[in-house]
């Protein structure tokens, strides 16, 4: 009797395994049909409405429905009661969440996944311990219509992680860059071959950072025309190959932070019309190929005429300083170090010179009287080094730079810190701070003891 039993079992086992292979193949075919029934929207997968159910009791309601209908699987196999009890302990701790995703074109829920996550953890340790459940018909059948509608209406505590698309592409219809110290308004653009771009814009520049005379401490507001040429555009971000600026100085009205008397609050004053020139490019590539990345930055302002006392409009005689000429040459190495999200490091240095003249303006006299300062020819040589950390995220783009300026003649130096941030390429904030480093004696008369400027930034680019 027992022998017959064994024989029956053997026969059944062999028969089943052959049949097993056939079902396996059939299962795959039907599974493939099942997965391809819906209209395919994988291109929008990341943009679909996704959220995490965090309410611990609500998670239990949904988990219980799956347990009742035995709808959960672990690696394709139905879990045993012990495995379910083990997972339920995580639920009792309150560390189980449900990842829910909606279909793109209508509001049905196409994906539901249970996962646990240890509360204080660094990186993303979410382990999806049950297989994901997809297809809203199946989910609705398991949850029952009422709980399913409730899940869609989001009447519970949740974290919304629907992705919003932030793209970072420049458009060339117009570009308004409202910045108190460096405004720019693009007025004209032209493409000659398929990829390059000529951009003409009106620009303004208040303050010379390399001479540690930022923003409203500088007497002249240079404004003029800027031509930017970019050889080709890398995913809509122009890779500027050279930039030429030509402008003239407008005497800047004192932007006083409080009622300080305009003239002596700012030690440097306008003393004649001047022209401003600025060139950024990397011409060294023509000489030696290794230096083709080095960026040269040549900037200069030269006074042409000299004001008369009634231009200065002072009521009683007045001594004041004025900077009339300024020239710097700086070489910068871009992308020295790539720190990922923190940005790319760009550093370099250079030298330059600027003059400071001391004038006496007596009302009624035809000309200003120039006094020799203790420095022959009034020219001061300076050496500067700077480092910029630039990052271009889709949401946050930032530029943090430190700048060191040493003045040979005056024997003093300035350490500058510049912090600039833009959010979604539309609103931002820029602030610069220079503090003196004394080496010998006290600061010369035309110097403030610390410089601090800031400005909100609004960009409208269409």
């Amino acid at each position: 009797m027992k022998f017959k039993v064994l024989f029956v079992f053997l026969f059944l086992a062999s028969f089943l395994s052959a049949q097993d292979f056939l079902t396996e193949q059939k299962m795959n075919r039907i599974q493939k049909i099942y997965d391809n029934l819906e209209y395919n929207t994988t291109a929008f997968n990341d943009l679909k409405k996704t959220w995490i159910v965090t309410d611990p009791v609500y998670v239990r309601e949904i988990y219980n429905k799956f347990v009742v209908k035995n709808g959960l699987k672990i690696r394709g196999k139905k879990p045993t009661m012990q495995e379910l009890r083990l997972k339920s302990n995580d639920i009792y701790e309150g560390d189980v969440f449900i990842d829910v995703r909606k279909r793109y074109y209508d509001g049905e829920i196409e994906l539901l996944r249970f996962f646990t996550e240890s509360p204080n953890r660094e990186s993303d340790t979410s382990d999806f311990f049950f297989d994901e459940v997809y297809d809203f018909v199946y989910i609705r059948e398991i949850l029952g219509v009422e709980l399913y509608e409730d899940l869609k209406k989001q009447f519970y505590a949740l974290n919304d992680i629907t992705k919003t698309l932030y793209d970072f592409n420049y458009q060339y219809n117009f570009d308004i860059y409202l910045h108190l110290l460096e405004p720019e308004m693009m007025v004209w653009n032209l493409t000659t071959n398929a990829r390059n771009k000529y951009l003409v814009s009106l620009f303004g520049k208040w303050g010379i950072d390399r001479a540690a005379m930022p923003g409203w401490y500088y007497p002249d507001y240079f404004s003029g025309v800027r031509l930017k040429y970019s050889e080709y555009i890398v995913n809509t971000v122009p890779k500027t190959t050279y930039l030429v600026e030509l402008g003239f100085g407008i005497p800047a009205k004192e932007f006083s932070m409080g009622d300080a008397n305009p003239l002596n609050a700012r030690r440097l004053n306008h003393s004649g019309t001047n022209i401003y020139m600025h060139f950024i490019g990397s011409p060294l590539g023509m000489i030696t190929p290794e230096l083709k990345d080095v960026e040269l930055d040549i900037e200069g302002a030269f006074a042409l005429t000299e004001d008369t006392p009634d231009d200065v409009k002072n009521s009683d005689s007045l001594y004041f300083f004025s900077n009339r000429n300024y020239f710097t040459l700086t070489a910068l190495y871009p992308a020295l170090l790539d720190l990922g999200t923190a940005g790319k490091l760009k550093a370099g240095g250079g030298f330059g010179l600027y003059d400071v003249k001391r004038y006496l303006s007596v009302p009624g006299t035809p000309l200003l009287e120039a006094f020799p300062t203790n420095i022959p020819g009034n020219y001061r040589w300076m050496f500067g080094a700077e480092a910029h950390l630039e990052g271009d995220g889709a949401i946050i783009s930032h530029k943090i730079s430190t700048l060191f300026h040493y003045n040979f003649n005056d024997g003093n130096g300035f350490l500058g810190l510049k912090f600039f941030v833009m959010v979604t390429n539309s609103i931002g904030f820029d602030f610069k701070m220079f503090s003196p480093l004394q080496f010998s004696g006290s600061l010369p008369g035309y110097r403030n003891d610390s410089y601090f400027v800031f400005s909100p930034v609004i960009r409208i680019n269409y």
Binding site: V8, Y34, L37
Partner: protein, 502 residues
């Protein structure tokens, strides 16, 4: 006492046999539920097929699962079959049959005894071959499967099968950023809502306007256009449409550059406004180079003591007189890629010096005069979203006005006090939901003063015209001290604006 006999084990075998096929049945069940319940998201197609006599034979007594009787296709008028299948996709390399439905139109088959024609066609559809049946055909009855398969393949070659996908894909694509038109559409839509003068509606623009209006009221193209309020009046008649341009008249009490409200400028400007395009006709305003030019004369009227009595004006008496003269005000669309340009010039000979407001001791009075003002700005337009519900306009440029001090005793002498070119920036936001005007707010900064201009549509009665409520607020100077020729505090004004024929 129950004892276990070997028959049980045999039974286990049978049961497990069905059990092992259980997951396949579950999958069939799941797919069939998906096919029946997911109404509009399935990317499947249907071919309607009415069998001919010759085709009946291979399609008869097809076996079906769950011991349902075998099925044969019928040839009867009013009976058609829908073969639902899936086209080739990335993972499915050939057409895959899903299920077959039989549609019987009882009405046309004349069967309905009670003549219930009144209920309209009575169609009942029945799924004759479920997904499970078709898969079993594929596994165990390939000839029938391929016969139906070839039916579908040929039908697809002849004409496109009917798609059961009911999703409206294209109208819900959403862009992440706003838009700004390269041509004049933004300029024209702004001017039509805000300008006091006529901008003829483009040909195709008319349809879109009329289509949205039809939900509201139909507009007969009236041949007269009036825009009037307590401080300005413009008039246009079709007769003045000269083909290459239009002429309309304007009277206005305000000044564009000076930070003063109408009536405070104590003068009235009157004159003509013309809109023309270099192409010679106004049909294709959207792409042509359009010039909107005003030529006005400005006369002085002593409205200084009227100010305190006007109910809609909340402001002080001005301290500066504005000289008479003539005004040029030009706005052009884009020329060779440059932005939209606006230029305003108001000049005065500076001769007539009788002051309406003066200051200083009564014996030796003196007065402030402003004779010339100009403003040159670039305009930029953009919209927050594709439906253009929220539209923006930004003007950036420079402006200048001069101020003279005139002393009358012992002899009238004139000395220039102020003549400075300063930046001007203004941002106007217009709310036009569903392309119909609703409200607009403009904030302008010039010479340290903030000017807030705001209008909102109240009532729009067809045939009579539309009424708007307008407020104009001029703030006290900020970030600087008061000029001697300015009055203290802020001034504001509220008025009703009537527009007919726009």
């Amino acid at each position: 006492m129950i004892n276990i006999r070997c028959k049980t084990l045999l039974l286990f075998g049978i049961l497990s046999f069905t059990i092992f096929s259980q997951p396949v049945n579950d999958l069939y069940l799941r797919v069939e539920k998906k096919l029946s319940q997911d109404k509009n998201y399935l990317d499947v197609f249907a071919v309607t097929f009415t069998p001919e006599e010759s085709q009946l034979q291979p399609l008869s007594n097809i076996p079906r699962r769950n011991d349902r009787p075998s099925f044969s296709f019928r040839k009867k008028d009013g009976v058609t079959y829908q073969l639902i299948f899936k086209k080739e996709t990335i993972e499915l390399d050939s057409i895959t049959l899903l299920y077959v439905r039989e549609i019987e139109d009882k009405q046309s088959s004349g069967e309905s005894f009670f003549g219930d024609a009144s209920q309209g066609p009575q169609i009942d559809t029945l799924t004759v071959l479920t997904f499970g049946d078709v898969q079993d055909l594929f596994d165990y009855n390939p000839t029938t499967y391929f016969y139906i398969y070839s039916l579908v393949k040929n039908a697809v070659k002849i004409e496109d099968p009917e798609a059961l996908l009911k999703l409206v894909i294209d109208d819900s694509r959403n862009k992440s950023k706003g838009i700004s038109f390269i041509d004049n559409r933004d300029f024209l839509s702004h001017m039509r809502l805000n300008s006091t003068h006529i901008y003829p509606v483009d040909a195709d623009e008319q349809q879109t306007q009329r289509r949205t209006r039809r939900s509201g009221e139909t507009t007969t193209a009236s041949d007269m256009q009036i825009d009037a309020s307590f401080s300005h009046l413009t008039f246009y008649h079709n007769a003045l449409n000269l083909g290459f341009g239009t002429i309309s008249a304007e009277i206005d009490m305000g000044s564009k550059v000076l930070n003063m409200l109408p009536y405070q400028t104590m003068g009235m400007s009157f004159g003509m406004r013309t809109l023309f395009s270099l192409k010679g006709n106004l049909t294709n305003l959207r792409n042509d180079f359009v010039i909107d030019a005003k030529l006005l004369g400005r006369a002085r009227i002593n409205t200084s003591d009227l100010i305190s009595s006007l109910p809609f004006l909340f402001g002080q008496k001005p301290a500066i007189n504005v000289g008479p003269g003539f005004i040029v005000d030009i706005s052009t669309s884009r020329l060779y890629g440059f932005p939209f340009l606006n230029f305003y010039l108001s000049t005065s000979s500076g001769t007539s010096l009788t002051p309406y407001v003066s200051f200083g001791p009564a014996a030796t009075p003196s007065a402030y005069f402003s004779f010339n003002q100009w403003e040159a700005t670039f305009s930029y337009f953009w919209n927050s979203s594709e439906e253009r519900t929220v539209r923006f306009k930004m003007d950036l440029g420079a402006a200048n006005y001069d101020v003279y001090k005139v002393d009358y005793s012992p002899v009238t002498s004139k000395s220039m006090l102020f003549n400075k070119t300063q930046p001007v920036i203004s941002l106007q936001t217009t709310f036009a939901p569903l392309n119909s005007e609703f409200l607009s707010a403009k904030v302008k900064f010039y010479d340290g003063v903030m000017n807030l201009f705001f209008w909102m549509k109240i009532i729009d009665i067809s045939g009579v015209g539309s009424f708007r409520l307008e407020t104009n607020f001029m703030s006290a100077p900020m970030f600087r001290s008061l000029y001697p020729w300015e009055t203290e505090g802020s001034n504001s004004m509220v008025q009703i604006r009537y527009r007919y024929g726009f």
